[in-house]
Amino acid sequence: MTNSKKELEEFRAEVSAWLGDNKPKEPGFLLPQSFMEVGTDQQLDFLREWQYKIWSAGYLGLAWPKEYGGGGVDPVFQTIADKEMRRLGVPICFNIIGLGWAGPLIKDIGTEAEKKKYLKGILTAEDIWCQGFSEPDNGSDLGNVQMRAVRDGDEYVINGTKIWTTMGNYAKYMILLARTNQTAERKYDGLSFFLAPMNVSGVEAKPIRKITGEYGFTETFFTDARIPADSIMGQEGQGWKIAMQTLQYERGAEAGHAGGLAFVRVQMDDLIGQLKSAYRNGKPLLDDPIVRDQLVSLIMEEKAISLGDKRTHIGPLTSDYPLSLPLSHKLRYTEYARRMRKLAVNLQGAAGALYVGDDSALEGGFWQKAYFQSFSATIGGGTSQVQANIVAEHVLGLPK
């Protein structure tokens, strides 16, 4: 199916107009900047309503089949809608584990019954999903997951602990990686993948308070928790393969993602805009030569990252170390983001000491919180130090 340029442009204008009319007003409390930061019922209710509104308007799940609540059109429409959401700076679609992980997976390899049961609730935000991969002792080494699932009649009995479960205390379902076979020759072959209900006895989601002072994820304990046997996806032993498949949907609507923003992108322009009225030594902050140099250096880092994303696709310009740009992306981006937010706090003068909750804090303490939150990315998904080792060994070929 090809879509005429005119048709796409009309759609873009339509989305843009709708978002313009329906972009929510500032709610009077700080909104989460990413799906990992939903810490209060107030925030949850707000985002749930917003996601439902976007879905009702027909701008979420556009490429998913109609019979399961989707729009049944080409993914390019979702890509356009996402771009407009990004451009107009609307709130996030928080149910990301459903929209970008569980949903596409069920859509692609789920049974008819599973599709009917789960997909629509993901889009409408009625059913919140969480992910249970990491464990306290198995963070980077996912293949070593130890949570046990033992078949007992029509049920599996689950025992063990998951950690860093985003929205674990709100979720109705969890995509769960657990070990069904203790004796498999390869550790990966002993794993199975479940669409596990959270509202069964024996599941306890204990919120973890973060460095920001807020909540957002849980440590999740399973103690003889019994889940229906048919909540397994595929067969026993296919867990690793399925878990890896869930990771591929992040790339966007073309890859199966239902759409919506997972996080608010903060750019140097946003920071500079807010510093225009700040002062240092009695003069405008942006006249200070040291501040100017610091800001320009970060603008360059930001630009180098986006130019690098383009250069990744140019063979002759990446032939020295073809894996360099993709494998160093997380390291470069997250470290840049952390430093940028750190500087944003530093540049506020005495007001840099204020935090969320103080009426005089710049943007409600946005930057202070964002700085702390930025560590979730320099630590989560492999710390920067581990990332640097990966780049050294897999890109430069340095010894382990």
């Binding site: 750019q267 140097m268 322009d269 500079i272 942006l286 006249d287 030569p289 100017r292 140099d293 800001l295 320009v296 250096s297 603008i299 360059m300 880092e301 930001e302 630009k303 180098a304 986006s306 130019l307 690098g308 383009k310 250069r311 140019i314 002759p316 310009l317 020295d320 170390y321 360099s324 740009l325 160093s328 390291l331 470069r332 130090q385 640097a388 080792n389 780049v391 050294a392 890109v395 430069l396 070929g397 340095l398 010894p399 382990k400």
Partner: protein, 376 residues
């Protein structure tokens, strides 16, 4: 503000061919042994290699077709010069192509065409930008009188010993003009060669006082000032490309050493204290290459606009940092060997010190960017 500035990066077939061909050429014609052979010579380069480059048409790459060039623009020069930097190849190519750019952009009609033809045929040329050691000082003080006699000294004139054509910004009746001086008009004792920290490069102080030129050797029009400013920024880009190449070669040297040298029973590359800064070299190099090819993508023969200026400033600021860091750590990581003249890391750390100043250091370019971003 950067939101509005360009973010495009593409690579043409022609660039790919030049990248490939020049890499092969430099690998063959400029081995480290070849580079070392030129360190103490007067000119600093092998005239036979230069002639081969001329035969390959490299001098005409950025010259428009209507002036008998290949019309590929500065865009075509970037991959070539990056590879020259990688091979530490000594040539007056950068000086010469910049002189050509100035002639093209200031467009003096017949006179430029004649000189461009000589350049295409391999006559080295250079622009005498500086009168002191401050790249941030663009004020010209050297004068030319109404009798067309030059008064003044230019400093840090690149490739002064090889150049046959000198382009001098001068003040004539309060106006900026360009004088085109032929090598034969200069006496040998007017040229005072510098002892440069980078022994692969050459420059000199030149006293032009007393030289009388013809009116046909003067370019005076309303394009002179803008052209001179544009060529300085192109110079920054070309040096940045050369720095990126040198950084890449220096990184290769480090990776190789970290993979062969053993201490305490282990390859030293297994120690994170060396591993992580080496990753920093790589990510800085990646940033350099992204900036220089971004600048190459958007630059054209037209007068330089804000986007291109931003891109070139960023390219030079980044590549200066990349090479000064990479070369500095390369010496350190080579331990005792790194302290010797025999170790090739000396070539890169010397190149780093020379090139960081060319067309302005990193702070100069970042300060220019701050002006563009914040002073509106």
């Amino acid at each position: 503000m950067n939101k509005t500035s360009s973010n495009s990066l593409s690579f043409t077939e022609e660039q790919a061919m030049l990248l490939e061909a020049s890499r092969e050429f430099c690998r063959k014609k400029s081995t480290i042994e070849d580079v070392r052979k030129q360190l103490d010579t007067v000119l600093g380069y092998d005239i036979n290699v230069w002639n081969e480059m001329v035969d390959l048409g490299w001098l005409s790459i950025a010259i428009p077709e209507h002036l008998s060039g290949s019309g590929l623009g500065v865009n075509g020069l970037v991959p070539l010069i990056e590879n020259m930097g990688r091979a530490m190849l000594g040539t007056p190519l950068v000086s010469t192509v910049l002189a050509a750019q100035l002639l093209i952009r200031a467009d003096a009609g017949e006179c430029s065409e004649r000189l461009l033809q000589k350049i295409i045929e391999g006559t080295p040329a250079t622009i005498a930008f500086l009168e002191n050691s401050d790249w941030g000082d663009t004020k010209i003080r050297c004068k030319i009188g109404s009798d067309l006699t030059i008064q003044g000294t230019k400093d840090f004139v690149d490739d002064a010993m090889a150049a046959q054509i000198f382009i001098l910004p001068l003040i004539k009746n309060g106006e900026l003009v360009l004088a085109l001086v032929d090598r034969q008009q200069l006496s040998d004792n007017a040229i005072f060669p510098h002892v440069l920290i980078d022994q692969t490069k050459r420059s000199a102080r030149i006293d032009f006082s007393g030289i009388k030129i013809e009116s046909s050797q003067i370019i005076e029009n309303d394009r002179v000032e803008k052209s001179l400013c544009d060529v300085r920024i192109i110079g920054a880009l070309l040096v940045a490309a050369e720095q990126a190449g040198s950084s890449a070669a220096c990184l290769d040297l480090v990776v190789d050493y970290l993979n062969t040298r053993k201490q305490f029973g282990n390859l030293i590359g297994s120690y994170q204290a060396l591993k992580h800064p080496t990753v920093d070299m790589l990510t800085m190099l990646d940033a350099s290459r992204s900036f220089i090819y971004h600048a190459a993508t958007i630059i054209s023969d037209a007068p330089i606009q804000k986007d291109v200026r931003v891109a070139c400033h960023m390219a030079k600021a980044q590549s200066t940092n990349t090479l000064t860091f990479t070369a500095d750590r390369a010496v350190q990581f080579h331990g005792g060997m790194g302290f010797t003249y025999a170790c090739d890391t000396q070539l890169y750390i010397r190149r780093a010190q020379w090139s960081q100043q060319q067309y302005g250091d990193a702070e100069y370019h970042r300060s220019a960017l701050a002006g563009i971003f914040f002073d509106k």
